[in-house]
Symmetry: C2
Subunit: 175 residues, 2 copies
């Protein structure tokens, strides 16, 4: 599937709803449990998405299309720590929803053409990347974290499902 902005936007627009439907108001055991040492809870994941809205996708779009240095600021994989501090899950979900809305409103003010999609920036690890790569990655990054959220939640019932584990793809099973 080719990247087209009209087909990417609806996915980006829905992610806050998907994640809110999945997490809003759930018991703490669903929200604050992870997959083991050095892994993220759903609470961490939403804070990470917030950090991405603030420092990753739109700022890097502006770097690519701007007049200054083309080199991206490295993304801070610990940036969620300060985003989540003193917050509740419902605050994080609201904050993510507002930031995403603002960012997509901003994106819609930019003239996304086949030409601008070919403009490049320099990723500190990946090297030259196009605006097309960046915007497609924004979509897949959302999907990566929906994927992760479903896996982290399922993990909490790994014992509870008993012998069914072998049929549950999300727990490493075969279906």
């Amino acid at each position: 599937m080719q990247f087209e902005i009209e087909k990417a936007l609806p996915v980006l627009e829905r992610t806050p709803q998907v994640i809110e439907a999945l997490l809003y108001g759930l018991a703490d055991e669903w929200v604050y449990s992870n997959e083991g040492a050095d892994t993220w809870t759903p609470f961490d994941i939403v804070a990470h998405l917030i950090h991405g809205e603030k420092t990753d996708w739109i700022p890097r779009t502006q770097v690519i299309l701007g007049e200054g240095s083309k080199v991206f600021v490295p993304f801070d994989m610990e940036g969620h720590q300060k985003e989540k501090k003193g917050k509740t899950m419902s605050q994080l979900l609201d904050e993510f929803k507002v930031l995403r809305k603002e960012n997509l409103a901003l994106l819609k003010t930019i003239d996304i053409t086949n030409d601008s999609l070919d403009h490049t920036g320099i990723h500190p690890v990946l090297g030259p990347v196009t605006l097309r790569h960046l915007l497609a990655s924004w979509v897949v990054h959302d999907l990566t974290h929906i994927h992760q959220l479903s896996r982290v939640m399922a993990k909490q019932y790994e014992e509870a499902v008993g012998p069914w584990k072998q049929f549950m793809g999300v727990l490493g099973g075969k279906r």
Copy 2:
């Protein structure tokens, strides 16, 4: 995490909303693309969830708690084929929502106690399983298919993300 019906129900209740937010009204390329030969599209997955509502979770609960044979009817992994026939995605999403609502209303009429959760049925492949295993598996089965949906959708942008693929967990990357 121990299985408790009050903590499982909210997850089961939200799944239709999660899936609707993820898929409703999306372009055909998101909805009718799969991961390659013998894999499912989002359309197939929703049809499979409908087939589960009709033949799996509640019917098997009734077998476990009923007076007759304790042996489950084998689940038909091709059952989605007839569920999807002649339907649109929006029809399937509505149908899943209605069936899930009816099934949870029915589940709430059943007295789920620590005693009834220990009752067993005979799975044709897994052997004896408890009602606790079955209901926990209903939750994890939902999460398995949310996990799969996010992966199938991400797969469509495998090329579009360019070098970012290596950072995208849902595409086999390391983050």
